[in-house]
Amino acid sequence: MTTSRPNPFRVPAGRSALSRRQLLIRAGALGAAGVSLPALLAACGSDSESGSSATTPGTAGGATPGTAAGGASSGLFFENWPSYIDPTEDGLTGTVDRFMEATGIDVRYTEAYNDNNEYFARIQPLLGRDEPIDPDIIAPTSWLANRLITLDWLEKLPIDQVPNAANLRADLQNPAWDPTGEYSLPWQTGFAGIAYNSDVTGREITSVDDLFDPEFAGKVGALTEMRDTIGVVAMSLGIDISTLSSFAEAQPAFDKLQEAKDSGQIRRFHGNDYFDDLSNGNLAITIGWSGDVAAIARDNPAVKFVFPESGATSWADTMVVPKGARNIEAAAQWMNFVYDPVQAAQITTWVGYVSPVAGVREEVEKLDPDLANDPLVFPDDAKLANTKGFAPLSEDVEAEFDAAFSAIIGA
């Protein structure tokens, strides 16, 4: 990535990547504890009905206080992950503002979605009692979207009002987490594979086995996201993660990880907060997310992301409408807007993840030719063929996976 591309449409990649990265680091470090403390309190107080207003997402996250309080509101409320959309800055109009301009719909966009489990704990006391939550669209990762679908906590999307949904990438149609495709549209997608610092490893890494190389003892990391860590390890053991239906099938991956943890091979399990450790060499090699690593690599070329030979996991963060949302039609208009390749390209150039919208590459080509050739943002078919999504797990099986994983990561 150079910073001097003659591109009138966006700020230089180096700058925007840096700002996104810094935001992610802060979100990862502080979000983990700072946000979960109030959430913990909210969970403790879930028995008290009067606590419901305090646990409402958005207000708890320190966003603008309840503009949508009571009654129908004409606006749209989208609660998304931090730094996951192009903002209005440096003379560029962000997607939210472009949407408001194009449709006249008032949008409240917050970034209080920091962690799937934590967010679930926040909405559970409300949606579990058939009470609506404030946001009209939330952004759970596909497995959580699947759980919400199973629990019947989501509204069906009025897909006839989203003609651009036809632009959904072919490989994401009727996905395993939403077999009928009625409840969710992906927001962004990406991969978990191996991230490493070649200055520390001293060699190119190609295989998951390198995570378990004694040479890197105490300098290995892994993600706290169970499906990505277990997924990558399981694939290296020849387990097909897209068809898992029982814990026994994935047992070898858990055993392998347990052994590495007990021997001190793994230094720590991390969420979004591994950039510094990887960049300064505390971690030599870890399981990481493609878009993040691409952002670090712009600052520190020694940091690299590889699709392991045995394959990478693919994930998707979705847009779903929680049950009882007030502005379903506005939500449909929003989805239609961001599924227009011209609009989606603006988001892609800023966030650097893989867009779920077909035809984005052509639009990105016009904005940022370098990015259009970035294999992490526009992977070729061979790479795509070597990625797998984690199978949707039934409630009981998922409980087994979660318990076993949490025993390993030491919680």
């Binding site: 969970a43 403790c44 489990n117 559970q124 009692r129 001190g264 720590r268 300064n280 060499g281 030491g410």
Partner: protein
Amino acid sequence: MTTAVEDVSTESNGVKRPELIGLGALVGAGALLVAVGTRLLTGPFAIIGLSLVFASILALVVVAVTGTPESRRKIAPYGLLKPGMLWLALFYLAPLFTLLRLSLSTLPSRFAVDAEFDWNFGNYAEAFTDFGPQFQRAFLYAGIATVLTIAIGYPLAYVIAFRGGKYRTLLLGLVVIPFFTSYLIRTIAWRSLLSDQGQFMSVINTLQLDWLLETLQIMDDGRLINTPAAVIFGLTYNFLPFMILPIYVSLEKIDVRLLDAAKDLYSTSTAAFAKVVVPLSIPGIFAGTLLTFIPAAGDFVNSLYLGSPNTTMIGNSIQDQFLVQNNVPLASAMSFVLMFIITVFVLIYSKFFGTEDLA
């Protein structure tokens, strides 16, 4: 109390034994608040209950205003206890009871909102069997950290109290000032200070002290961070002022003439310190230990940011069960086990070190 009973016959205004009425109103109002707080009383019953609580407060005020001086005197202690008692009933006893009930409940399904109460002692069995190492680590780390805070805090408090002179306030302020910054921020900052490329490591590498620190098990695999020592260090650092301040208060109260007297009686400085200063400062050490050990045993922040997967403490596990596994009954049982063990520790400790002053 005995004098109050003797006074009964001399009551003049017809109200017999007002102190019993005061006690009854206190306990009754507390019990009612607990019942409302735990939702044993709901709907109209809760409203009636709260009205009774309010009425008892009103009655106290009426007695205080209209009663004879004698009945006022007897009822006063109960009136003064009331705000604190009601506060504790609503914000301590009711949540504690709710937690106890939850810890004996079962979730009908994994993502159910409400657990069903069914005397499920299995949660306790699970808390003991599955989280033994985390409990052990929590008490081990908290114990070592507490000893370290005494070792570091006592001399510091001593110097400030006896040698601080006019700078006492300033020195105390310096102890406290770093803690104006958020607990989280300070802990996260230590992460970069202790990191492999951090200032501490570069000093250690320059002085080639790593073999020593490895032998002392402070370093592990050539690193300071993500080790048990880092977690204990974080706990020590974060709880140090809670040790220094109580010790300072107890030392500051000591009359220096006692030391002069000891010397007049041919005591050496060491003996005077051991026989005069230390015994008189024990209440401070005791209070500091409670303020340090109890929160440290339940802490999860230091282990989260400075530890590794092999240093997790019980606080991390409880947080994980509440927020990731959604297993509220198990998490409640774990919290109770933690509280129980801490209570036992504190009781044993106060048996040996507790003083009349503090009881």
